[in-house]
């Protein structure tokens, strides 16, 4: 009976797909409703998902996604699926489901998609599954039932199908692997990671879910958040834990302190119990405080020198909600930057800073009303100073601003603190461009059309200003010939950005330009074998042509070159900072950006020098540095050029070089 029904529905569906495919593009909209309604019923049937998966390619080709965001699967954002799948609007749910079944077909190699590789699709689906784990294991909530009716069950069976096709254990294990991979980059923002860890914990404690042998690697993650020490092992709640602390002697407190410190430095995640201990220890000696922060001798020295500042900071900014600030504080002390004369007074100023009503409102809107906005901001400051390479741009096109913040936190922290003051207290930042002041308040729109929301507290307040100033600097270069980054980058980022500028793309035509000289010059400036073994002194802004895993051009992107040196296997690598939230990317043609295990420090990305050079399109240098083009061997140069031609340079060959490259 049921199979009869599915058969009938499949005929209707095929008919509707054909109708849509036959339809003129302007009239497709009139045929879509029928298709989506039939697809909805297919989804409700046992075996319906497989049926839709098998037709995914035909549906896409017929134009189901035309004119919607789903038409460009490479741009879809996994976190948005949570909303569309829970939407009360049935067509939205159905089209999201069809889109993901299409990605499943792509991931499993059943459908070769022109814009998305199997790996990309697989990666995307793993994230989607991770974010929506409760759809997989939980029953629909009352709200969902109320809003979606029977469809709430369909999204669940659809999720099960997705999970079964990819493999349950695979998901949990891959999810855990994914979490570790992200944590190894030590991002400042860990909310989504915490959410995923929580989901795994929920699944593990649910007796109805059999995870088999999978999920073993999650213990450290879960315990670091919910029970890192003996006295909070069973997640007793903050009040109980506070009581237990009252009854502890020095030895027991020491035991707690090292437990928290180990968990924090292992994972980069801070348990909400940790602040309770830290606040408790404020009345104890420096030794226990240092133990609880897990400091080495450098950090401990710094703590001893600036004990009052550290205690005042903890008192004002460290609460269970702002626990991550502890990690920032510990790493800041380890960096020794407090010994720069301006920094301690600047932090005192920060502690006393009156935050403008507008900024208070924004902080409260994003982070909630507990604790006070100034505490959230201080937590943000600690994290940024402690983890300068953990800055992320969120889902916003503001890579330049994120890069600038990271660069200042890294090599000019006192300037960063000045920016924070201007933004948070005055709601205005002024940066000079070639002697002319540019005010963020007077400048019109920036690169981002909306005010970004998904950022850390410092970025949240400062980025909108920086973004407008950056865009204004660009506007002031409109009449100039060539790429505006030549003038904007040094003025925007700092005096250490080289005034010399080299680009390998002709701005007017988009064609590759003076490639050989560009590469030789880059080697001469950055490669220790060709620049007199000079390590890079300051981080330098650079431009990358980002490619996807199929080596197709995606877009131009701003990064920072941090170091160039030999890795543990004696390979010359470029270590760089990518303001994109996850630096571990596959750029195609075996160019895999590494984030751990190749000598990277937390937050660094790295590539072998040649591979990096093959994606570089802009770099800065000091024009006064005596230099000549490096005598790079023809072989090596050719390898780099081959990689360019095979990827983003494919359709950028100037006419006269076209022949030369056809060898």
């Amino acid at each position: 009976m049921d199979s009869d029904k599915l058969k009938r529905l499949s005929q209707l569906l095929d008919d509707a797909i054909q109708q849509l495919a036959d339809s003129r593009e302007f009239a497709k909209i009139t045929k879509l409703q029928r298709l989506l309604d039939i697809a909805r019923r297919v989804l409700l049937q046992e075996g319906g998902c497989a049926l839709l998966e098998a037709r995914a390619q035909r549906m896409e080709e017929a134009g189901v996604f035309d004119g919607s965001d789903w038409a460009q699967p490479q741009t879809l954002v996994p976190s948005l699926t949570t909303y569309s799948l829970k939407s009360p609007d049935a067509p939205t749910v159905v089209i999201e489901a069809i889109s993901e079944l299409r990605l499943l077909a792509i991931a499993l190699g059943e459908y070769i998609h022109p814009h998305m590789s199997a790996e990309q699709a697989h990666h995307y689906l793993t994230q989607v599954l991770a974010i929506n784990l409760e759809l997989l294991f939980g029953a629909p909530s009352e709200a969902e039932r109320e809003q979606q009716g029977r469809l709430a069950l369909a999204t669940r069976s659809f999720y099960r199908h997705l999970a079964e096709r990819i493999g349950y254990e695979h998901i949990i294990d891959q999810l855990i692997e994914e979490i570790w991979r992200i944590l190894q980059q030590r991002p400042i923002q860990v909310d989504s990671v915490k959410q995923m860890v929580t989901q795994i914990a929920v699944c593990q404690t649910n007796p109805e879910i059999d995870l088999g042998v999978s999920g073993q690697g999650a213990d450290r993650l879960i315990s670091s958040l919910y029970g890192p020490t003996q006295a909070c092992r069973e997640d007793p709640g903050i009040a109980v834990y506070r009581e237990r602390l009252e009854a502890m002697d020095g030895g027991a407190l020491q035991y707690e302190a090292t437990g928290f410190a180990r968990a924090m430095h292992d994972t980069g995640l801070v348990s909400p119990y940790h602040p309770i201990l830290l606040r408790h220890l404020l009345e104890q000696g420096d030794y226990l405080l240092s133990e609880a922060l897990g400091l080495s001798s450098t950090g401990r020295d710094c703590l001893l020198c600036y004990g009052d500042l550290v205690r005042a900071t903890i008192d004002q900014a460290i609460f269970p909600e702002t626990a991550q600030g502890i990690y920032g504080l510990a790493l800041m002390l380890e960096r020794g930057i407090l010994y720069q004369p301006a920094l301690a007074p600047a932090l005192w100023r920060q502690l006393a800073l009156p935050v403008s009503p507008y900024c208070q409102e924004r902080l409260t809107l994003i982070f909630g009303s507990q604790p006070a906005p100034s505490a959230w901001l201080m937590q943000g400051v600690l994290c940024m100073l402690g983890q300068p390479l953990g800055v992320g741009q969120g889902n916003n096109p503001t890579c330049q601003s994120a890069r600038a913040l990271s660069m200042w936190a890294y090599s000019d922290p006192d300037y960063l603190l000045q920016m924070v003051v201007w933004a948070a207290r005055d709601d205005e930042i002024i940066i000079h461009f070639e002697g002319q002041p540019i005010s963020s308040r007077e400048s019109e729109g920036g690169v981002a059309s909306d005010i970004p929301m998904d950022l850390d507290p410092v970025s949240l307040l400062v980025v909108p200003h920086l973004d407008r100033i950056y865009a204004e600097m660009g506007r002031r270069c409109i009449d100039r010939e060539g790429d505006p980054h030549r003038w904007v980058n040094p003025e925007f980022h700092g005096w250490w950005s080289g005034r010399g500028f080299r680009i390998n793309v002709d701005v007017a035509t988009g064609q590759l330009w003076e490639l050989d000289d560009f590469l030789r010059h880059f080697y001469a400036s950055y490669h220790p074998y060709y620049n007199g073994n000079q390590p890079l002194i300051h981080p330098q802004p650079a431009g990358i042509a980002v490619t996807d895993s199929a080596a197709r051009f995606v877009g131009w992107h701003a990064i920072t070159i941090l170091r160039v040196t030999l890795d543990p296997k004696e390979v010359m690598r470029v270590y760089f900072f990518n303001p994109n939230n996850d630096s571990g990317q596959d750029w195609g043609d075996d160019v895999l950006v590494s984030t751990a295990g190749k000598g990277e420090r937390f937050g660094e990305a790295s590539l072998p020098f040649e591979q990096f050079a093959s994606r570089l399109y802009i770099f800065h240098f000091d024009p006064l540095e005596p230099g000549e083009l490096a005598r790079v061997s023809e072989d090596e140069l050719q390898r780099v050029k081959d990689r360019i031609v095979k990827s983003w340079g494919a359709d950028r060959l100037p006419a006269d070089e076209l022949q030369a490259s056809h060898f």
Binding site: K5, R8, L12, A16, D22, S23, R24, E25, F26, A27, I29, T30, Q33, R34, D37, I38, R41, P88, D89, Q147, G149, R150
Partner: protein
């Protein structure tokens, strides 16, 4: 993607203009083998540009001094004939075609087809049976007519009145259609609805006909069976209605003669009384509402708009049009019907398709949307449903009963 393969266009065939905006009609024309142009208000311009749809901007208000302008423009372009897609463009098509085809009578004919009172008189003159009708200019006229009709029916005081029907002169279908039983009900009619046409109620079976006409001959004749007027329709009809086909064909031939229709498409409504007598209700010179064209395509597989293009185009050949249309009833692959949903409750919060409807093997799909407002306005006239549900199946009786049954179900709760 290039929109239209010019190679599809046959220069021997006519060049047609579509009056009014209908994506279904445009797509049908676009896929067909004739040149076409869409004549529509200026809000359609960007869309047409974006999608390469041949387009001329024109705002169809009342006919005026500038009306000849559009006729001349189309003539200069070499357009052969204009096809009205909506009630409001019928008189424009008449005016334009009288120029394009050099036949002034077409304009007068269009005016007849646009005014329900004139239309009935003309039908009466042609020897077609119609009910009692009159124009009303105010509420008093309505009360007087209601009384007179019921006197004529020899009703005594206290007997329940036979209802009368009020319709706007120049609106399509059920828009502005009211049923009046008592003088009290007259009070709720807003003054701005006058003047209206009043008709006696015909106790009979109401149905609609769609007829494609070329060279004065009927080329395809469909009977649309209303299960309940304003709620549901399906094609082809049950054998009970189809048994009148021959009689109905005679009526349509009479209509063609009376209104002097040489080509095009008509959509009249009739009542058949229990003794088999046919009463003419009204006729429209444009596609019917309630997606009957879509239903026909589902049932027979031919595109009704393309059928319309053939019937209007003076360059259509006898052979072409004969081959285009299938044989009525016998060539249908099944019966296609649709049901217009009205909320039954006064307060609704969400759309919920009854499981029995959705699980029925005849259920095809629905185009209902979630409610925008929670309170449902009380229905005073036949009006706009909230969306349609489509069914398709083999048996006409199952279809009829299924459609009828939908009236007892809640789609909005």
């Amino acid at each position: 993607m290039a929109n239209r393969g010019e190679q599809n266009v046959n220069p021997e065939k006519g060049y047609i203009a579509l009056l009014g905006w209908s994506l279904g009609a445009i797509e049908a024309a676009d896929k067909f083998d004739r040149r076409y142009v869409v004549v529509a208000p200026d809000w359609a311009e960007d869309y047409c540009k974006e999608h390469d749809i041949p387009y001329i901007s024109w705002n169809f208000e009342r006919l005026n001094d500038r009306s000849m302008e559009i006729a001349q423009t189309l003539k200069d372009m070499g357009v052969d004939v204009a096809i009205p897609l909506f009630e409001e463009t019928v008189e424009w098509a008449g005016a334009i075609n009288s120029v394009l085809l050099d036949n002034p009578r077409l304009f007068g004919q269009a005016m007849l087809l646009r005014d329900k009172a004139l239309m009935k008189r003309r039908a009466q003159l042609g020897g077609i049976r119609v009910g009692i009708f009159e124009e009303a200019h105010d509420k008093e006229d309505v009360v007087r007519f209601l009384k007179r009709v019921n006197q004529t029916l020899l009703k005594l005081d206290g007997d329940p009145n036979d209802p009368i029907h009020l319709k706007a002169f120049d609106k399509a279908g059920c828009l502005g259609h009211r049923v009046i039983r008592t003088p009290d009900e007259v009070d709720v009619i807003p003054d701005e609805e006058f003047p209206v046409l009043m008709e006696s109620h015909l106790d009979g079976w109401e149905f609609a006909v769609e007829a494609w006409i070329h060279n004065g001959k009927i080329r395809f004749l469909n009977l649309s069976e209303y299960v309940t007027l304003g709620y549901s329709v399906f094609v082809p009809a049950t054998p009970e209605l189809e048994k009148y086909r021959e009689q109905i064909t005679k009526q349509i031939e009479k209509l063609i003669k009376t209104f002097d229709i040489e080509f095009g498409f008509v959509h009249p409504e009739y009542f058949v009384t229990s003794d088999g007598e046919m009463y003419f209700g009204e006729v429209a010179y444009r596609p019917p509402g309630f997606k009957v064209f879509e239903l026909l395509e589902r049932a027979y597989g031919f595109n009704a708009y393309q059928g319309m293009i053939l019937s209007f185009d003076p360059k259509t050949t006898e052979e072409e049009i004969t081959n285009f249309f299938p044989k009525e009833v016998v060539d249908a692959k099944g019966h296609a019907g649709c049901f217009g949903v009205y909320p039954r409750r006064r307060v609704v919060s969400k759309l919920e398709i009854p499981e029995e409807t959705e699980e029925h093997p005849y259920f095809d799909f629905h185009e209902l949307t979630p409610p925008l407002e929670e309170t449902v306005t009380k229905r005073t006239a036949f009006g706009t449903h909230w969306g349609l549900i489509y069914f398709f199946g083999d048996d006409p009786y199952t279809m009829r009963d299924l459609l009828k049954h939908q009236e007892d179900l809640d789609f909005y709760v």
